[in-house]
């Protein structure tokens, strides 16, 4: 259980409208990821759902029940914060048990549930430690434990992994995905990380200035971005955009080609260009190529590539994967 | 019940009603607020009322409404006018000197050196010592004609011992006040210095600033609001100084060091003249309010946004 509906929700801080009227429906069991540039209102939206912030107008419903005026605690949601937000003066055991204690469960029951959660999160040996004595990854696990122990209708995550180092981040990402597979609880997850968004989400919501630009599965967004903004935002490295004469040849104001959809050759191709910086990642090579008439383009080549700064190369975009945008930046149909 | 019915208990009286409602809705704040109102605001209103009456505790039968008569009296009374001047000179001299000395203390102990902790502790101690004991220490260990270190030094140089407090009463009081309040200024200024990050000072030095230029162009401008804050707070406390005067000079010799608070104390507890004392009290409160207004503005800007 746990489908969430926002209808006509707006939020103003003073005179500033951070969220213009917004509608969103989240199905039970979905893993929804909010992405968007910094300051676009992801956190605000999450806090509106959580009840930590009051909506200026509109309504929020969970399982069909309007909970717009309901206090955060009564909404049956759990939140995991970027800063972990653990209670520093309580041992892990009490941290995880706190929501149950507030719900008035008896001691034995709390102890049992806390033990069970600690078991699933590999925290059993740390139950008596204070948050201050734990590593970042362990702290985040405690925070997750505190969220799942009360069996909420939905989890809200606000960039939960961004304080962790790269390796740990991958681990935790997998752990959270696994948890979601197992619990099947609705989750809303805010992140800046492309990989997190693409790998974890069943549905991605792309926000810009409080407006939903597009909602869809990761592959939908990747393959059929609705406009220039989404096209540029989803995918890494970023999609190449070409305007002017070259775009006009395709009957569009702008065309977009992802770096991985451009073939590279030393002998022949559609566009001739000069190689700038070359980034060797081992698994891939990113080339920054300046093409007269099209501008600088990024090209992604699988594996290692023996090209050097200043070399002349030829680029050929995959004709089936060229995205076309009109003057208003909206996507046009693919070329037949 | 009518839909627009106001909450029954407080809704009737406009201003009081709003206030009452607020109190009702903020049960966590209300007790603290009420204690403060009852213990400080109510008495002040009474002071204002007393100031309008001719009232001497020794001649209660003469009590009568006197309008602004008490105010006219005190503004014709040279003792009061003198005490105002005394208060002002104490405050201005002591605040400015304390600021200067406090700034020197702060600059001296800001950077790390051997025993900085002890030096800081010694420097703040005059502020922690009970004011009357601090004044007592000065009276007997420093300024006393017989036991004082000052006269011992004078004698070592062949001079004649001096009755310091008798000869220089105002200077003596100011000296003790500065001794007591300079640490207060230092504490706030030090916090200001700590808020100035080292990078800025280092950058200035890289740009070729010497110690003097660094102080003048980087440190002092940064300290401005801390100096203001400590100066305003200091003024409010020093204008009301009573303890040091009570212990050091009892307002004398003559009335040389009688400031307004001391005069009020004398009027109430030596002459039992409630009416005039109350009028003086109202005047000093009004005077303080001017300074307090500036202070609140400053505090407000330091605090940033509220509500």
């Amino acid at each position: 259980m746990g489908h969430i509906t926002l209808s006509n929700v707006t939020k103003q801080f003073g005179a500033v409208e951070v969220i213009p009227p917004l509608d969103l429906h989240i199905e039970d069991g979905e893993f929804v990821v909010f992405v968007g540039p910094s300051g676009c209102g992801k956190t605000t939206l999450l806090r509106l759902i959580a009840g930590l912030e009051d909506v200026t107008s509109g309504s929020v419903a969970i399982d069909g029940t309007d909970i717009t005026g309901v206090a955060a605690a009564q909404r049956g949601l759990a939140m995991v914060f970027q800063s972990y937000a653990l209670y520093p003066h309580m041992p892990v055991r009490d941290n995880i048990g706190f929501p149950l204690r507030m719900a008035g469960l008896d001691k034995a029951e709390i102890a049992r549930k806390v033990e069970a959660v600690a078991e699933t999160l590999n925290l059993t040996g740390h139950l008596d430690a204070r948050p201050g004595q734990m590593s970042g990854g362990q702290r985040q696990r405690v925070a997750i434990g505190r969220a799942i122990v009360r069996e909420p209708k939905a989890f809200l995550f606000d960039e939960p992994l961004s304080n962790l180092d790269a390796a740990l981040r991958v681990n935790m990402r997998l752990e959270i995905s696994e948890l979601h597979q197992r619990l099947k609880t609705t989750a809303i997850y805010v992140t800046h990380d492309q990989v997190e968004a693409m790998t974890m989400a069943t549905k991605i919501v792309v926000l810009r200035s409080g407006i939903i630009e597009q909602v869809g599965s990761p592959m939908e967004l990747y393959n059929q971005p609705r406009n220039l903004f989404v096209a540029g935002f989803i995918g890494s490295p970023k999609m190449n955009f070409v305007t002017g004469e070259t775009a006009a040849q395709h009957g569009a104001a702008t065309i977009g080609v992802r770096p991985e959809h451009i073939a590279l050759s030393k002998d022949a191709g559609d566009w001739k260009g000069r190689v700038g910086i070359v980034e060797h990642l081992g698994s891939d090579t990113f080339l920054h190529v300046t093409v007269p008439g099209a501008g600088p383009l990024t090209v992604r080549v699988a594996g290692e590539m023996a090209v050097r700064f200043g070399d002349t190369v030829f680029l050929t975009p995959d004709a089936n994967k060229i995205h076309r945008f009109d003057a208003a930046d909206n996507a046009m149909s693919r070329r037949p | 019940m009518k839909p627009d019915a106001k909450p029954a208990l407080f809704g009737r009286i406009p201003i009081l009603g709003r206030f009452g409602l607020w109190i009702w809705r903020n049960p966590l704040i209300a007790p603290a607020l009420l204690v403060v109102i009852v213990v400080t605001q109510a008495p002040f209103i009474l002071t204002v009322i007393y100031s309008l009456f001719r009232w001497n505790l020794q001649r209660p039968e003469n009590t009568a409404f006197n309008g602004f008569g008490n105010y006219l009296d005190i503004f014709r009374d040279s003792r009061f006018l003198d005490s105002v001047v005394t208060s002002l000179s104490f405050t201005v001299a002591a605040v400015l000197l304390s600021l200067l000395v406090g700034l020197v203390y702060a600059l001296l102990v800001h950077d790390r050196f051997f025993g900085r902790g002890i030096v800081r502790t010694l420097l703040i101690t005059p502020f922690l010592i009970m004011p009357i004991i601090g004044a007592l220490a000065w009276k007997y260990t420093v300024l006393s004609p017989i036991f004082g270190i000052l006269n011992w030094i004078v004698r070592q140089f062949g001079g004649t011992p001096i009755d310091w407090i008798g000869m220089y009463p105002v200077a003596s009081v100011v000296a003790v006040l500065v001794w007591r309040w300079a640490p207060f200024m230092m504490i706030i200024i030090l916090a200001g210095l700590q808020a100035l990050n080292d990078d800025q000072r280092e950058a200035a030095r890289m740009d070729g600033a010497g110690p003097w230029a660094e102080t003048r162009f980087i440190v002092l401008p940064h300290l401005k609001k801390y100096l203001q804050l400590s100066g305003l707070l200091g003024s409010i406390f020093i204008v009301n100084e009573f303890d040091v005067i009570f212990m050091l000079t009892q307002g004398g010799p003559g009335t040389a060091t009688t400031n307004v608070p001391f005069l009020i104390y004398q009027s109430v507890f030596y002459s039992f003249d409630i009416g005039h004392a109350a009028a003086m009290a109202v005047v000093i409160v009004l005077g303080t309010i001017v300074v307090v207004t500036y202070l609140l503005k400053l505090l407000g800007s330091l605090m940033g946004d509220l509500d």
């Binding site: 955060a72 | 607020w22 400080t40 007393y50 009970m130 007592l136 009290a281 609140l296 509500d307």
Partner: protein, 294 residues
Amino acid sequence: MAFWNRRPAAARGIERASRLRTVLAWGVALFVSFPFLYLATSGLKTEVEAPKMPPAFVPVPEFLNGIPFTYTPTLQNYRLILAGDFMPYFVNSAMATLVSTLIVLLLAIPAAYALTLPQTTSKRNVLFFLISTRFLPVVGVIIPIFLATRFVGLLDNVLALIILYTAMNLPIAVWMMRSFFQDLPADVLDAGRMDGAGTFHELTLIALPMVKNGVLATAFLAIIFAWNEFLLALTLTTTRAATVPLYMISFMSAQGLWYAKMSAAGTLVALPVVILGWFGQKWLVRGLSMGAVK
């Protein structure tokens, strides 16, 4: 280079003062401390020795008698004082100070907390009203307070001092506690709200344990102000409820100028909060600036 200068330059923070400044700072500190250090010293001398000049600073064992600037310390003055009528004054001071501080904390903590909550309205007005009462000259209210205290029969009763010291310290305590509450990470309090803590539990189970130092600092400051208070004690008490500053006054007028005993008494009276202040040094600035400066 002196041994203490050998710390790595990379140990960041405030940089090192020059040798000259070190000497200067020590000089100024000792100069400024003379009155109270010498007072404390005199309290350890005999009545004969105390007023003698040149001043003797250095306590030495008896067999070294006669070296200039030295004296043989004795606790005899303290014994006499403690055997005399000092204790009742001390108990009164302790009562007035500690009880008022306790009440101050009980009232200030919830108020300060509520003044950080987003739903509380008129926060600015309340805060500024509170603090302006602290800046109101005591002489502005002393007359009605004296009369009212007399009227309700609380003259020379510690209760009167407790009430007044409570009101005196409340505004500063509220401001100070509020500044500590405001420094708490908002996420942790939000987490509390998500976990179902109401305002009461949020305060008692989450916020308060996280600002333990703040409570301690506030208590320190309230104790210092209450203990050192003189004017109200002077006007509202005479014998039964008199506090230590009044002990000092009555001691001086009753016993005359016994220099050594007076010094010992002064030291004894001032020492408790001086020590407290030494320990609470790093928090003083917050209290003295109403939490505006950290």
